[in-house]
């Protein structure tokens, strides 16, 4: 798994050699892989994606293909059957790309430490760009974690977003 090396370079911060401008006003596209946990972290990601958190308005979108993704969101303790799938997914993503572990399982196995079937998280196996701990982290925790990529806090952006009239997409109320 030494193959997975996150090249989460300066692009996400300033002026990297990237064609597409990046920043809070541009969607950062996330691809989620569940590598074998209880599914709780995945449910919270789903709540973030379709619930009233306005993830899209905040600049994050979920995609259904790794080829369209900027960031790989990993949940689950990484079973030995899922490792090659994870690797292939990573390879399919265009560079620059980043790797984020959502939930204790994905970070260090959490409750599912290493055994005959489980590798026990990605910590110390690959370069991780961001760890969002929790079992599971709430959608708010995840959003806050994602925001920290831009060196921002969630609250700052919420008001900034309103000023700039960033559209809301996932709230229907």
């Amino acid at each position: 798994m030494g193959l997975i090396r996150a090249v989460f370079d300066a692009t996400f911060r300033q002026g990297g050699a990237r064609l597409k401008p990046v920043g809070p006003r541009w969607p950062l596209l996330l691809f989620h892989v569940d590598t074998g946990g209880c599914g709780g972290c995945g449910m919270e990601l789903q709540a973030l994606a379709t619930g009233p958190y306005d993830a899209q308005g905040a600049g994050f979108g979920f995609v259904q293909s790794p080829r369209a993704a900027d960031v790989l969101l990993v949940t689950g303790a990484v079973t030995r059957s899922m490792m090659p799938v994870l690797e292939a997914t990573w390879q399919a993503m265009p560079t620059p790309k980043g790797l984020i572990c959502v939930g204790n399982c994905a970070v260090d196995g959490g409750m599912f430490t290493e055994n005959y079937a489980v590798m026990g998280g990605l910590d110390r196996k690959v370069q991780i760009d961001l760890r969002i701990p929790g079992c599971p982290p709430s959608p708010h925790d995840v959003l806050e974690g994602l925001f920290s990529l831009f060196g921002k806090r969630l609250e700052e952006n919420a008001s900034a977003g309103q000023d700039e009239g960033v559209g809301s997409s996932s709230t229907s109320s």
Binding site: F31, C38, P84
Partner: protein, 499 residues
């Protein structure tokens, strides 16, 4: 032959409802079961014996035990189709072979583990496979002619990983088979000889969205093994957890179905309502996904005395939102039409696979273990809903059940008052116990054996087993575009199934 009397004629064990059979008697039992409709729960192995569990009347258990001979036992799958999943699991974990089994392909061991038969007294060598796991199709699947296609395990959607192999003729599915095991975390090994509190936390992580049901069933099993019973008030707090879980989990499923069917607005309304309920509940109970609130001997809530008020508040939210949501769902242009007529399960399939929960109820099956539970006295009532067995019928039943759970929460509010919650101290004696709960997708049942103050062995029955079989059964003849809808509507859950 009356299989109940036949089992009871076996040798008594330390557990009043479990009897030991000789191999010939076991074989007769399998033959007898082909004619009789004794409800099958599951089959498991502990390394020396195999056990099979039935529920002859309501929630009364009856189990038969057989000593493995040369690591083999006569299979139950010729008489109970779903047993084949348990038999395959037992083989993968213990290497115990089911003779005359219907299906002997690997279920979760795909030759990538660091040892084969990891739970056997002498585990085998490491699997030799590298890279993506190879898949062994059944003969029936190989015989289906058409274009091969596959979905998963990494789809970008949020469900637990599994692969669905398909054979297509145009857009129509001719053959379908699932490949599971991607989410296998070795629960049985983790449970073996674990501390009781640790085992309870694990049971809450079998399948998110059903954590409360799992932990209530697990804790009950521990309590019965200790010969203890929790007080009425605490049991009512557990009912709050179970019904709230059903409510939010059904809304989650409904949102996924609406999203998949293209009704994005309906999906976000469902998720919005779910979030409203969770926003009220999480600060008082202590978490959003209701994990670790049910503990052996009682409950562990952040603020138990506020749960009565919480129920009132949840019921108010229900009043404000439920009927509008339900009307929106039923009247949304094209939504019902999109779901009608697909993924139909008939009564025969229900009975053959032993399906329960909302999936069975939506096909005219009448199974709900709340009916016979003391903690639901005066709360649960029978409601007849749609029973055509299609995805549309299942969504209608889920929607109705959200309403019923909200009603139960409203009824619970005055009963709870300022209940303090808490827990009784259990002294862990050696013994076996069984516990169950009606989870969002049906009966969740735990059998535990305590030894020297620790959990020695756990067997778990989750509705995901029959759901997986139903999924494979129903796919041929369907359009490939409907796979995700059918899967979500059946409650297929690889995290629970893989263990």
């Amino acid at each position: 032959m009356d299989p109940v009397a036949h089992i009871r004629a076996g040798a008594e064990t330390g557990t009043p409802w479990r009897f030991r059979l000789e191999e010939l008697a076991w074989r007769d039992l399998v033959d007898g079961l082909k004619q009789e409709a004794l409800p099958f729960v599951g089959l498991w192995c502990d390394g020396t014996d195999v056990h099979v569990l039935f529920l002859p009347h309501g929630n009364q258990p009856l189990a038969a035990t057989l000593a493995l001979e040369d690591g083999r036992y006569p299979a139950l799958s010729p008489a109970r189709a779903v047993s084949s999943l348990y038999e395959r699991m037992v083989f993968d974990l213990y290497g115990a072979e089911a003779m005359w089994a219907r299906d002997v392909r690997p279920l979760v061991d795909h030759d990538v583990w660091t040892s084969t038969t990891p739970l056997a007294s002498m585990p085998g060598p490491a699997g030799g496979h590298k890279g993506m796991i190879a898949y062994q199709p059944s003969e029936a699947f190989l015989a289906a002619e058409g274009l091969a296609a596959g979905i998963g395990p990494a789809t970008g959607r949020t469900g637990a990983p599994m692969h669905v192999a398909l054979t297509l003729a145009g857009e129509t599915i001719v053959g379908a088979e699932t490949v599971t095991g991607y989410a296998h975390r070795g629960m049985a090994l983790r449970w073996r000889n674990s501390r009781v509190d640790e085992a309870c936390r694990l049971s809450g992580r079998v399948a998110a969205g059903c954590s409360a049901a799992h932990q209530v069933a697990f804790c009950q099993a521990i309590e019965t093994a200790c010969g203890e019973q929790i007080g009425h008030e605490v049991s009512q707090l557990r009912v709050v957890l179970l019904e709230l879980e059903r409510c939010v989990q059904h809304l989650y499923t409904l949102a996924a179905l609406a999203q998949e069917a293209g009704a994005v607005l309906v999906a976000s309304r469902c998720m919005w309502f779910r979030e409203q309920l969770l926003k009220e509940a999480a600060p008082i109970l202590g978490s959003r996904l209701l994990m670790d609130h049910c503990v052996p001997g009682g409950v562990s809530l952040r603020s138990a005395s506020d749960v009565g008020d919480l129920c009132t508040r949840l019921a108010e939210l229900g009043e404000e939102n439920y009927s509008a949501l339900s009307e929106l769902w039923r009247g949304y242009p094209g939504l019902s039409a999109r779901l009608a007529g697909i993924g139909i399960l008939d009564r025969a399939a229900l009975e053959r696979l032993g399906l329960d929960g909302p999936v069975a109820r939506a096909a005219g099956g009448d199974s709900d273990c709340r009916r016979d539970m003391r903690m639901y006295d005066g709360l649960w009532r029978f409601t007849a809903g749609r029973h055509g067995g299609s995805v549309d019928d299942r969504t209608a039943v889920l929607l109705d059940e959200v309403g019923e759970s909200l009603r139960m929460l409203a009824d619970l509010a005055p009963r709870l008052g300022l209940t303090a919650g808490g827990r009784i101290d259990l002294s862990y004696q050696d013994g076996e116990g069984i516990g169950m709960a009606e989870g969002p997708w049906g009966r969740v049942l735990y059998w535990v054996r305590l030894l020297n103050g620790r959990v020695e062995h756990v067997f778990l029955r989750d509705p995901s087993y029959p759901a997986l079989m139903a999924f494979e059964t129903v796919l041929p003849g369907q359009n490939v575009a409907d796979v995700a809808l059918i899967k979500a509507s059946l409650g297929v859950n690889a995290a629970a199934q893989d263990g």
